[in-house]
Amino acid sequence: MSKLDNSSKDDKVEATADELFAKDAHAVFERSTEGIDAETKVRLNRSRQLALAELDSRSLVTANWSQWVPATGLATAAAVAVVMWNTNAVVEPMELAPVSDFEILLNEDGFDMLQDLEFYSWIDIDGEPEDEPAADANVG
């Protein structure tokens, strides 16, 4: 027990000595900072101002962006209005072009068809030509 007591007492003495040393070291250090020469102080001040200018330039960038916020908001509002207006109209699903259309386009006559597009679209609207009677209908 006495050994333990002694070791803990030693630890306390050591800790106190460490603390005293740290206090002394801090005091010596502080005094060394108190008398920094004028030229160095000016340079420190300049450094600080340079750093703070960084904040100004950052806020300028933010300000520039914030000028755009209302305009962007209005544009968004207009876009929302247009979308809402158009939601009343029923959007029909787009029909996929049948494969035969591609075949026509790939056909040698494709270019002729393109030149006479109006005619072909008229045919398409007026409906399919009536089924021709089968060739063999009268047979037999």
Binding site: V28, I36, R43, L44, S47, A51, L52, L55, S59
Partner: protein
């Protein structure tokens, strides 16, 4: 249509002028940097043993702090500032090591540029008797030499804990290590310094 009105109302809500908050923050940052700049300079100077280099390192740390951490709480600034500064000091030492290797390769000795004069860069005495001035100057010189002889991490821990009086938690943030490591480095540093400076240092 009510949705449109809501959207417009949100987009046009009055916001305070950005300059108002910035001015307040600028004042706080200015005061913070003023409080800390001299100690930071001396810490950097002890680490790199060159006032001009130390001034550059402090300036870079100030700029980086403002650029990256101005929005953080004021209580976070000190450890963040010292983290930036310590990283800068470590980078500086790495660059110096490379430079010295190159200089050796070109045939120049390492000590050619090592003309740092502790007395010339010592602080000007303020309101102290000549005896006190000499005593403090000598004590600081001995301390600086002893601190410089410490391993880098011990030196960092000692300077942040003793000179800047950061607590263990903030020192850990500044050093980028655990609180346990800080305690170990600091304890070893104090013991080494007490041993090297002797019991009668600064009496």
């Amino acid at each position: 249509m009510s949705a449109e009105v809501a959207v417009i109302a949100v987009s046009c809500t009055g916001r305070p002028h950005p300059g108002v908050g910035t001015l307040q923050r600028e004042r706080e940052l200015n005061q913070f940097l003023m409080r800390l700049e001299k100690r930071a300079l001396r810490i950097a100077e002890i680490s790199v043993r060159d006032r001009d280099e130390a001034l550059d390192l402090v300036q870079i740390a100030m700029i980086k702090l403002v650029r990256n951490y101005a929005e953080r709480g004021e209580d976070e600034w000190t450890p963040l500032f010292y983290r930036i500064l310590q990283n800068g000091i470590r980078d500086w030492h790495r660059r110096q090591a490379v430079r010295n290797r190159v200089m050796v390769w070109f045939g120049r000795s390492k000590g050619d540029d090592d003309d740092y004069d502790v007395i010339a860069t010592a602080a000007d005495p303020v309101g102290r008797t000549p005896d006190e001035q000499i005593q403090n100057s000598e004590a600081m010189q001995s301390l600086e030499h002893a601190v410089n002889a410490l391993p880098a991490r011990q030196r960092e821990a000692f300077m942040l804990r003793t000179f800047e009086e950061l607590d263990v938690k903030s020192t850990a943030v500044a050093m980028g290590c655990s609180e346990g490591s800080v305690k170990t480095h600091y304890s070893r540093a104090v013991h080494s310094l007490r041993e090297s400076l002797g019991e009668h240092w600064h009496e």
